[in-house]
Amino acid sequence: MVADIVASLKHKPGALLPVLHEIQRQFGHVPEEAVELIARGLDLPIAEVHGVISFYHYFSTSPRGRHVVEICRAESCQAMGGRELELFAKQKLGLNYSETTADQQITLEFVHCLGNCACSPSVRVGTQIYGRMSSERFEALIDELGAPALEAR
């Protein structure tokens, strides 16, 4: 599968980043075992692929929860109560950044700017961005994320 992704994107200029994005999209992370396949497929040294993956916080090398919740820590969000939101989120989930809940449902991450500054503070879940986030709205959001999974059990 990794080889297929590499093959489908290798013609792009600077193909490494598109490949890593696609792998993370499909697998939820970039598995360690994928690195050699990527390197071979793109004719890049293994060390270079490793260097790029480890440079971007966005890429994770270990499995993450079903939902990745990212809290913005950039200037505008901080000015609008982002720090309090961070604290609340950590408490609510019982997680530090880059940690995942025991039921593998939610991973908490931070980002620097989601381009939604007018509606600070912002949170992103998957590809969906939520603005004007408060503790209450965050709690509701998390409950919503957790609910279907609980039902599914």
Binding site: E32, V35, E36, D43, L44, P45, I46, A47, E48, V49, H50, G51, S54, F55
Partner: protein, 963 residues
């Protein structure tokens, strides 16, 4: 004003100028720029950095991330300077000089800036300088001193890396991240100098760390242990384990590596008479400051416990050895040789020299054979590697040597690599090739196997022509055919420089459709269209250079292939200037020299045939003896004669024919038949187990002399410690010769070189004085070429007009059959050297502890074989057993192995086939079968060999017992 200087003479290799010169040309062609640095006027070539210009003026700007072996990086911010008219502070390493520039390297403001930068570095660095392994050789320590750092205000409470654990997985060096300042010099060295790209910076910001491979221990990564990172490291982060164990050296001596034909210059760094490390010397013109795992680290064999340092003799090979004095050994050996000659005739003894030895040693042995043995039974191991090069290039171009200097690769636009594996066998030159390939040079590889060069990081291979072993000549002819067929030849060059008649004949010959790629495809297996395109690229892609190795010479048509290669170069006018030419990649350190020194049965020094009366008389006069005008035995003839019983005595210097020569069982039969075998070596090698006299050899660290590398460069080998046996090898040869009744009176090898220079025109201008002064010289070096000759055949070919030789393809007799359906080709691996006598006695075995057989998945599947299985490998010559590596490097129908380990007996498999002109063995083509192991884990030969070896080692241990 400091005038622009001539870097040929004025660059000091001991200094670090911070950034490289803008061009490697001896005299740069670009414009010169005037600037002022701290009030001093400097004139430098355009493209020079401010840092380098200052350094040339004697002003050393503080720096950490810059070093002149790497491209400027601009990350450490210590080298900031003020430039008149420019706002702010510029990094002097990345700022290039401009006309009229005024630079200040010192001011209060700069001083504060630098101290602040240093303070930040030191805030995450252990302050254990006194007990640190880099104490005395640490640029961080030096810079802290130079910028005047007096305090570190950040305390030690914050985050830091001081508890990071060292990685000692590599046997030769340690990586200690706690000492790392993340200057990236190691990463850049791995990329820019070595070209392996095994290192990167992982993480970012504070988390940035050097990481090997995928964040692995160094040994598990792609690291090839060349040591470039260790050398580039400004701190103790990457340090040789010998330095950690023993401390900094107290003095150093420049010498020449004794491994491959690249001939790297090294600084042997010493403590008393102990070598603590070998560091590639920046002043070395063959290696330009780079090294490989062998030269850099694998010198421990010199003090290995297996070394034999006492002369030994025994009456017969089933008796224990007896330690004797040198004189007793000489008398015993001479007495035996003389009585053999008395009984069986003058021709019943012969000698073999080694391409591992110095020019002076080789010259003396051939002199001893001719003068004291009284025959021409002298050959050297070039017979089994590059003899076809000598013959083929002499015939076509007029000189038995490569046409180029290594630096020439930097002007090459198209590389045609045939049957060579430079990144394994000539690693330092391989790195230079890769560097050029990254700059966009097009690469054509002709090889049955996918060599590493085909997959070089950040470089492309235009064509890999995967031919079947044994079809070089067909392919080379096809390339020539296309060039002629499509009218791509350089008619003016041919008309002016080559023999008309020979060319016309050849033109008709090669134009025939039997040489067309469409026709030769049936032999080579290479698609015709690929051959056509590769030929067009070679003929029209600009400066095109051919690099070839033993994959060309070690064939039944080795000489034909070499002539075909020369034809290609002449046909396209790719000869006689930089960037082009014919480059034989010489296997051993002194193959070129061994051939130059006349250690051939038919030639006197300087490739002059014995039958020429004036030449022979010159030597007869100088040596005071009569020299036979008829050629003597080649190695193969000697072995045949020994088996048949007419040759009874041999002197073998530094060569292990029982492991390295083909058809081992034939060699063993020959050695076993001798009445007197004298072996001179460091160890009791496979050949020495058949010997009656053992004369201990000296390592390259224990003697003075010279080696001549693949670019005809004569470089000095210097004694850094006393010979363990008490005598240097040339003294041993002289001693034996004296005992034979022919005195040789030399006090020093320089006198031998003087004799060589006096008798050999190409060496006329060579002397130890000049080598000491100039570092190295490329022959011909004489009245016509006082400074030596980096590029040959510039105005005219050495033979006058170039000669197009006819190169009919005749398939080898070694054909696949139902019984032996696969083709075996043999080669080398980076970490081991030849028979491995030295490298197997170092930590290099951590990389290659046994020879394995590469088999394509399809062939493995057909035989029910899996990766790692033990298999039997059989040919018409013999059977051995070894483990399999299933690999897509080889194509279906082809298997590959190395011959570094005696237990494997790869040469039990190879056959007696050899080159039609020179008898160079056909190592590269053997029809074989691979199958399930037969009974035990080893073959019958392997068991016999193991028993014999065991007995012989026991006889060595019982030495001293009464015979």
């Amino acid at each position: 004003m400091l005038e622009y200087f001539d870097p040929r003479n004025d660059i000091d290799p001991e200094r670090d100028y911070g950034t490289a010169a803008p061009s490697t040309d001896p005299v740069p062609t670009g414009d010169l720029v005037d600037l002022v640095v701290d009030g001093a006027k400097v004139r430098v070539p355009d493209g020079t950095s401010v840092m380098r210009a200052a350094s040339i003026a004697g002003i050393n700007i503080p720096k950490l991330c810059a070093t002149d072996s790497l491209e400027a990086y601009g990350s450490c911010r210590l080298c900031l300077v003020e430039i008149g008219g420019k706002a702010g502070y510029s990094a002097s390493c990345t700022t290039l000089v401009e006309e009229g520039m005024e630079v200040s390297t010192q001011s209060d403001k700069l001083g504060r800036l630098r101290r602040n930068v240093m303070e930040l570095y030191i805030s995450d660095h252990p302050l254990d300088c006194l007990t640190c392994s880099a104490n005395g050789d640490c640029e961080l320590q030096d810079m802290a001193g130079i910028v005047g750092l007096r305090e570190q205000r950040y305390g030690d409470g914050g985050s830091n890396h001081l508890d990071d654990m060292p990685d000692g997985s590599n046997p030769y060096f340690q990586y200690d991240p706690a000492k790392c300042i993340v200057c990236s010099r190691c990463v850049r060295a791995c990329e820019q100098i070595q070209g392996t790209y095994a290192l990167s910076i992982s993480g970012r910001g504070f988390a940035s760390r050097i990481s090997a491979g995928q964040g692995q221990p160094f040994m598990d990564s792609d690291c090839v242990s060349c040591g470039a990172c260790v050398q580039a490291c400004p701190t103790a982060t990457l340090t040789e384990k010998t330095i950690i164990a023993t401390g900094q050296p107290d003095h150093s001596v420049i010498t020449t590596c004794a491994y491959c034909g690249v001939g790297c210059a090294f600084k042997a760094e010493m403590k008393g008479d102990q070598v603590v490390r070998m560091v590639p010397w920046k002043g070395g013109r063959a290696n330009r400051g780079h090294a490989c795992i062998k030269g850099r680290f694998a010198f421990g064999y010199a003090s290995h416990k297996d070394r034999i340092t006492q002369p030994m003799i025994r009456q017969s090979i089933d008796l224990p050895w007896r330690n004797v004095s040198w004189d007793e050994a000489f008398e015993f050996a001479a007495g035996r040789l003389r009585s053999i000659q008395a009984e069986y005739g003058r021709d019943s003894v012969g000698g073999i020299t080694s391409s591992r030895c110095t020019n002076e040693e080789i010259y003396l042995v051939q002199k001893m054979v001719r003068a004291a043995f009284g025959n021409n039974n002298i050959d050297n191991c070039a017979r089994v590697c590059h003899a076809p090069t000598g013959f083929g290039l002499k015939t076509t171009l007029g000189e038995s040597a490569g046409t180029q200097t290594f630096d020439s690769v930097e002007k090459t636009d198209v590389m045609l690599v045939i049957g060579a594996n430079p990144t394994e066998s000539h690693p330092v030159f391989g790195s230079r090739m890769r560097k050029r390939l990254r700059e966009g040079t097009r690469l054509i590889v002709v090889d049955p196997r996918r060599i590493d060069l085909v997959k070089s990081p950040h470089a492309e291979t235009a064509y890999h022509l995967k031919l079947l072993p044994g079809t070089n000549v067909a392919l080379i002819n096809a390339l020539a055919h296309v060039i002629v067929d499509e009218g791509l030849e350089q008619a003016a060059f041919i008309a002016q420089r080559c023999e008309r008649e020979a060319f016309d004949t050849w033109r008709t010959f090669i134009g025939d459709s039997r040489h067309s790629p469409e026709q030769t495809e049936q032999y080579t297996g290479v698609p015709a269209e690929d051959v056509r395109q590769a030929a067009r690229l070679y003929a029209t892609g600009g400066n095109a250079a051919i690099y070839y190795g033993l994959g060309v010479t070690e064939h039944s048509q080795g000489s034909t292939a070499v002539m075909g290669i020369a034809n290609l170069a002449m046909l396209t006018g790719n000869i006689g200037r930089e960037g082009v030419g014919v480059n034989p990649m010489r296997g051993q350190n002194n193959v070129q020299g061994a051939c130059d020194m006349g250690s051939f049965p038919h030639e006197l020094p300087g490739y002059r045939h014995l039958s020429g009366d004036p030449v022979r008389q010159q030597f007869e006069e100088a040596w005071g003896v009569d020299i036979l005008p008829e050629p003597g035995y080649r190695i193969t003839n000697m072995l045949d004669a020994a088996v048949e019983g007419s040759l009874k005595g041999m002197y073998i210097q530094g060569e292990d024919i029982a492991q390295s020569d083909p058809n081992t069982q034939h060699v063993e039969a020959a050695l076993g038949n001798l009445e007197c075998l004298i072996v001179q070596d460091l160890f009791l090698n496979e050949t020495a187990k058949y010997a009656h006299v053992f004369l201990p050899g000296s390592t390259f660290l224990e003697k003075d002399g010279t080696f001549t590398n693949a670019e005809r460069r004569i470089s000095p080998v210097r004694k850094v410690m006393a010979p363990a046996s008490g005598l240097q090898e040339w003294q041993v040869t002289a001693g034996l010769s004296r005992a034979l009744g022919y005195a040789m009176d030399y006090d020093h090898p320089s006198e031998i070189m003087d004799e060589i220079a006096a008798l050999t025109p190409a060496f006329g201008g060579v002397s130890y004085d000049r080598l000491d002064r100039e570092g190295s010289l490329q022959w011909p070096c004489n009245e016509d070429a006082p400074d030596g000759t980096p590029i040959m055949h510039v105005e005219a070919f050495v033979r006058g007009k170039g000669f197009f030789a006819l190169t009919e393809f005749i398939p080898t007799d070694e054909k696949v059959t139902e019984q032996f359906p696969l083709l075996l080709t043999t080669g080398r691996i980076l970490s081991q050297y030849n028979v491995g006598a030295q490298t197997r006695r170092t930590d290099n075995v951590a990389w290659h502890s046994e020879d394995v057989l590469e088999v394509h998945a399809q062939d493995a599947q057909d035989r029910g074989i899996e990766n790692g299985d033990l298999v039997s490998l059989s040919s018409r010559s013999g059977i051995t057993q070894l483990h399999v590596k299933v690999s897509d490097r080889v194509q279906p129908g082809v298997v590959y192995t190395t011959f570094h380990h005696p237990e494997t007996g790869a040469n039990v498999i190879t056959t007696d086939n050899s080159d039609w002109a020179t008898n160079c063995p056909e190592y590269k083509v053997t029809a074989v079968q691979v199958g399930k192991p037969i009974g035990a884990s080893t073959s019958e030969w392997q068991q016999k060999h193991a028993r014999f070896s065991e007995t012989q080692i026991a006889l060595l241990d019982r030495q001293g017992e009464a015979q």
